[in-house]
């Protein structure tokens, strides 16, 4: 169900945590707003990897399931 209130706030899920953000927020802005790094990360929106070149143009939608991945130690 789409959740957009009259004040332009939408609800989405960021790394499994429900967040309320302003409408028209793009992915690059979402990272900064959420105090997440912009380098060395990859963003997946609703099971699709979004290329870095599109972050500025990809606007968050209500009910989006957004996941930010980073590198971790591994063999």
């Amino acid at each position: 169900m789409t959740q957009t209130d009259p004040h332009g706030v939408i609800t989405l899920h960021l790394n499994g945590v429900e967040q309320q953000v302003r409408a028209n927020l793009n992915l690059a802005e979402l990272l900064i707003l959420s105090d997440l790094p912009t380098q060395g990360v990859a963003i997946v929106v609703n099971d699709t990897v979004v290329p870095r070149s599109r972050w500025m143009h990809a606007v968050c939608q209500a009910d989006d399931n957004i996941t930010v991945f980073s590198a971790v130690a591994g063999g």
Binding site: L14, N15, G16, V17, S34, L36, P37, Q39, G40, V41, A42, I43, V44, V49, V50, P51, R52, T67, V68, F69, S70, A71, V72, A73, G74, G75
Partner: protein, 269 residues
């Protein structure tokens, strides 16, 4: 030099970044190992714990990063992970690993071949982690993999080269680098893999779980270099029978020796 795809490495020791007690220890060990190709994994950032900056220090060291697809349980997930790695790190190099079974972490050969073929077609430099299966390794070479990474024994087990017989066949048949991955628990085992003609080895747990990872990393570096030199020098043939290294024939019947023996005996009496 070790050549993988279009890249050359002077070190034949690949290292992993997992299981170290902290980042500093890991960085010191990697520096000590001389490794130029270093693996890492990917994970969803935990918003409650903050971001752990692993990349910055590794990039400062100048090592080439080799992201893996650990966690993938099938070809589809592995392909997704490779795409994720490309967006995250800007590299199309990928250590392809698909192991749905968490107990033994045995790689799934069918899903690995499917994913490898797809990723090779997409221009990735694919380095699949596989069982020491000579037929599978040939098939992976045919679909365009840049290297194959057969296991010595189960991941993190430190059991060494349990698959030695099959590794030999893979090495004999391969036209791409064979990098022995998983299970190498001691420098002597890494040395042995290199003596057999492996192009490189990947070591993680044996270094990370040592009481002194930095020193152990250096030991592995030395062992790998020695093993490589021994391979290039050429090992002697293995025989079932003894072959004397000193002349034995007629030693006791030589006149001079006999007279010396008499002399010694008379003085001793």
């Amino acid at each position: 030099m070790l050549t993988i795809a279009d890249h050359q490495f002077s070190s034949r020791l690949l290292t992993g970044t997992g299981k170290f007690s902290n980042h500093n220890t890991m960085l010191q060990a990697i520096a000590s190992s001389g490794s130029q190709l270093v693996t890492l994994a990917m994970k969803r950032i935990d918003l409650t714990r903050g971001h752990d900056n692993l990349l910055g220090p590794l990039q400062s060291m100048g090592v080439k990063l080799l992201p893996n697809t650990a966690g993938a349980r099938n070809a589809k997930e592995a392909i997704f992970a490779a795409e994720l790695a490309y967006e995250m790190l800007g590299t199309k190099w990928i250590k392809l690993e698909i192991h749905p079974d968490p107990k033994y972490l045995m790689p799934d050969p069918i899903e690995t071949l499917i994913a490898a073929q797809h990723l090779c077609e997409q221009g990735y430099v694919v380095m699949p982690y596989v069982h020491a299966d000579p037929v599978l390794c040939m098939r992976l070479e045919e679909v365009g993999c840049a290297a194959v990474m057969p296991l010595g024994s189960p991941i993190g087990s430190n059991q060494g080269l349990a698959t030695e017989t099959f590794l030999s066949i893979i090495i004999e048949q391969a036209n791409i680098p064979v990098i022995v991955d998983a299970g190498i628990g001691a420098p002597s085992q890494a040395c042995r893999a290199m003596e057999m003609g492996a192009a490189a080895v990947l070591v993680n747990t044996a270094i990370a779980s040592s009481a002194n990872p930095q020193q152990m990393a250096k030991c592995f570096a030395d062992a790998v270099a020695t093993g490589r030199q021994a391979y290039l020098a050429g090992l002697g043939a293995v025989n079932n029978h003894a072959h004397a290294t000193s002349p034995l024939t007629g030693f006791l019947s030589e006149p001079t020796i006999n007279s010396l023996a008499k002399s010694v005996n008379s003085k001793g009496g």
